[in-house]
Symmetry: C2
Amino acid sequence: MSRETPSGDELLAMLAALASPHRLRIVAALAEGRSYVSELARRLRMNRPLLYMHLQKLEAAELVVGTLETAPDGSSVKWFDLAPFAVTLTPQAIAAAVPTLTVPGQKDEDKQ
Amino acid sequence: MSRETPSGDELLAMLAALASPHRLRIVAALAEGRSYVSELARRLRMNRPLLYMHLQKLEAAELVVGTLETAPDGSSVKWFDLAPFAVTLTPQAIAAAVPTLTVPGQKDEDKQ
DNA sequence: CCGACCTGTCAGCATTCCCTGACAGGGGGC
DNA sequence: GCCCCCTGTCAGGGAATGCTGACAGGTCGG
């Protein structure tokens, strides 16, 4: 819940998820209220599959939350909400997160 | 100086610069003190031209500052220092920065 | 002279990413 | 029947990125 000091991997995933003008725009749009894929695609003037991919990345980084709601009549709409997040980017915070970075194929052969 | 609310482009550049395990590691290493390219390359076990590129990106985002110091004997060393930065990532901060995003080829034809 | 240290730049490759149109399916209402 | 709304997935191509070895230059000390 309280994400004061995220792990290196979490921080990296969050940064990578936000490091895109499209996804920044998506977050800003969702800050005004929940929406669903097709409606967002119209609003942001972008291809629906493209928006879909970006939303998945944001969801993977736990910055947005998608909920597929199936109405009683059977029609389904997937709503997207912003996840409340607050991470402060400082050299110290980064230095604290880096040691927990999972490096693929890392040996612990760092001497000193 | 006080970078409370960065512009959209600045925020994006900062995020893009930090969204890399290598560059996070570089920032963490520089948090322990200034260093120069060759020394950092040895410490982080990475190719010098590669590190050079990453440092340039960090410098372009104004997260590190490079200073080429030419000693009186003529030998030169380029020192890199961390720039003090503190940006808090929240939905509101992003929503505030997004309108100032420079979109290449953007027409102002957004009808509500 | 040779080796060790430093900076900076280059071409080229491999990989990954971004984005597109088109398709599958579901549900209405007219 | 047709048309409109919604979701989800796919292949393919074009572009950008990450990374490498090798090169240029400089100073210093043996």
